[in-house]
């Protein structure tokens, strides 16, 4: 009996030893952010094996809180979700900007993320890509839809969809002519505004076909003709436009919502060197352009524009006029406790008839 135990233990040690031999980078990221071609290129160049886990903002933060910042070597939260989570849960470690090749990045984006993800003297994010949330519109059936308020326009009854998450609450407030981000410093006023947003969305719930829940359902709904007007991401709208010219992304008049996704290093990252290697690799102009050409999202890499396909460049100029760009509302860091207000409102909307 003892022999069996010994053999078992030896086998276990051997396999774990074999696993240790190869260096790995455990990456917690979004779907579309790691094209297989780039991953194999990185593995060939560095000899580091990349292990990818797909996630989203909520799950990313929840996972890292559960492990107190362990389990992954590099994560990609949105820039507005870093600061207050870090203050309370301390799940990231400060970025050493001397290790980041900031020369290849767009300076204004680096500064914006540095500022929004700052706790004390340290900052916790490096910008990776950006995009906007606006509307996907079937121009043949709804040629005039061009503002958030069209999400409750009776003209499109039964042909409307959106995702029941916090961007919708912000978008609705914008469509109502309010400036929700200006109230981030005043919790009571923000709660009051959200009350009115809730009423707006419940009153007009009968116009909505359904709520989409993922990038895939967002695409499926408008592609199948089930809806004509929906909230959506620019990358998705542009990809759809290339296969069906009737469908396109539209920047709402009252302001598209701008997000920036970042690189942040979890507190208990086991391979910090590999994390910085990946950051610099993914943002190298050629690689960043490869990502943008595939996924359609903008990149924080400065010179990537030289490698972009013409139709990808064209997407941007077609959608955004100069005024539209100036009107993009970039998410400021979400203050603590605000997600609770929003979450309850979202549940009430979903429960309403």
């Amino acid at each position: 009996m003892k022999k069996i135990v010994l053999v078992g233990a030896a086998a276990l040690m051997l396999t774990s030893g074999a696993l240790m031999a190869q260096e790995t980078l455990r990456l917690l990221t979004w779907k579309d952010y790691t094209p297989p071609e780039l991953v194999s290129k990185f593995e060939k160049e560095t000899g580091i094996k990349v292990k990818i886990t797909y996630s989203n903002n909520e799950e990313m933060v929840a996972k890292l809180i559960a492990t107190r910042g362990g389990g992954y070597d590099l994560a990609q939260p949105s820039q507005d979700r870093i600061k207050f989570v870090q203050m309370k849960h301390k799940i990231y470690q400060p970025i050493d900007y001397s290790k980041v090749n900031t020369g290849q990045l767009i300076t204004s984006m680096v500064d914006a993320v540095k500022k929004n993800a700052k706790v004390g003297n340290d900052s916790f994010g490096v910008p990776f890509c950006y995009g906007t949330t606006g509307m996907l519109v079937n121009k043949k059936n709804a040629p005039d839809a061009n503002d958030w308020s069209d999400l409750w326009n009776p003209k499109y009854a039964g042909k409307i969809s959106y995702r029941l998450k916090r961007p919708l609450l912000i978008a609705t407030a914008l469509g109502m002519g309010e400036d929700p981000f200006a109230l981030y410093s005043d919790k009571a006023a923000y709660a009051e505004l959200m009350k009115r947003v809730e009423k707006k969305l419940i009153d007009n719930k009968n116009l909505v076909k359904t709520y989409w829940t993922s990038g895939d359902t967002q695409v499926a709904l408008i592609k199948s003709g089930d809806v004509d007007v929906e909230s959506g991401w620019d990358g998705k709208g542009w990809t759809l436009h290339s296969t069906n010219p009737d469908i396109d992304f539209v920047a709402p008049k009252s302001g598209a919502l701008g997000w920036i996704d970042t690189f942040a290093i979890p507190a208990k990252s086991k391979n910090i060197d590999a994390a910085y290697k990946w950051i610099n690799f993914a943002l190298a102009p050629e690689n960043a352009a490869f990502f943008t050409n595939g996924a359609g999202y903008g990149t924080a890499s400065k010179d990537a524009i030289n490698y972009l396909k013409p139709e990808i460049k064209d997407n941007f100029t077609r959608t955004f006029s100069k005024a539209d760009i100036d009107n993009i509302k970039w998410y400021p860091a979400l203050p603590a406790g605000f997600d609770k207000i929003e979450s309850k409102i979202l549940e009430r909307i979903k429960a309403a008839k």
Binding site: V61, A62, I65, G225, K340, S343, E347, R348
Partner: protein
């Protein structure tokens, strides 16, 4: 000899105990303790029943639970009504040779997994899906009927994935029913209805009850089907728990609601067993 057996015994029992303690008992204790943690307005964490009280104070929570429980009970009853004839057919009418093959066919949806079957239903039920297109093609109607993203599609999805858990225990209960009892009743002039209600169902009752418990628990704790098939008014209680854990990152509140779900659904099962006069020990056997 004795000593050797002891070693083997421990070798087998230790992994089981470790599994139970580290993966089931300790996490539950931790969750239970955290369900009493509450962050007050000053930002301090204190011991409090607030997380449990908020369930009763805010109508959105208990109304959602009531709705979830109501649907779960209704779907469980529906699952019984739909599957009982099938179970009877497979055990008493079809010959043994075919019935095992047919049972195997019934199991196929379980093999492909819940998510895949749900996407399958989406293809069937959507406005431009198989069923609507077929009906329009036949000329029975001009405009598609809205089936997907309604309570109807949610019920179908939940029913489809939970039906099997009703069929299997009912079949095994019916298997032990002696055919001669049915023949005797029929010889003595009992109607078909009388035979079913007086002989077949009472005999299958433990199977029905254990199937019912399984189906009810599966449905009330399901997250995927209501979320994907349910559409815009399908708030399920599990979704609120999910939101506490993942959206607002309020684990204490989520833990409290998790325990409330456990307590309340157990209470519903206990009440139903009491009403129907079943004993849990018999149901388990």
């Amino acid at each position: 000899m004795m000593k050797k057996r002891n070693i083997t015994f421990y070798l087998f029992i230790i992994p089981v105990l470790m599994w139970l303690i580290f993966l089931i008992v300790l996490p539950h204790i931790d969750l239970f303790l955290s369900s009493f943690r509450f962050e007050n307005d000053d930002g301090n964490t204190v011991f409090s029943f607030e997380n449990y009280l908020s369930f009763f104070q805010d109508s959105i929570y208990w109304l959602t639970f009531l709705r979830t429980a109501f649907y779960s009970i209704a779907i469980t009853v529906l699952a019984f009504v739909l599957t009982f004839p099938i179970a009877f057919f497979l055990t008493k009418v079809v010959s043994k040779k075919y019935s095992s093959f047919m049972t195997l066919l019934l199991l196929i949806p379980i093999w492909v997994g819940e998510l895949v079957t749900i996407y399958g239903w989406m293809i069937l039920l959507s406005d431009h899906g198989v069923i609507n297109n077929f009906l329009i093609y036949l000329g029975l109607m001009d405009t598609p009927i809205k089936m997907l993203y309604t309570d109807f599609s949610m019920i179908i999805g939940l029913l489809y994935m939970s039906m099997l858990f009703m069929i299997v225990p009912v079949m095994s209960a019916l298997d032990s029913l002696d055919d001669s009892l049915i023949e005797a009743a029929s010889d003595l002039g009992a109607s078909k209805w009388t035979i079913v209600t007086k002989i077949v169902i009472p005999h299958a009752m433990p199977g029905i009850a254990s199937g019912g418990i399984m189906v009810f628990m599966l449905i009330i704790g399901d997250y995927v089907a209501p979320n994907i098939l349910g559409g815009k008014s399908s708030l399920w209680f599990t979704e609120q728990i999910y939101n506490f854990f993942l959206t607002t990152i309020d684990w204490s509140q989520g833990a409290a609601f998790g325990f409330l779900l456990l307590l309340l659904s157990s209470a519903i099962i206990w009440i139903v067993l009491k009403i129907t006069g079943q004993k849990l020990e018999r149901v388990g056997s």
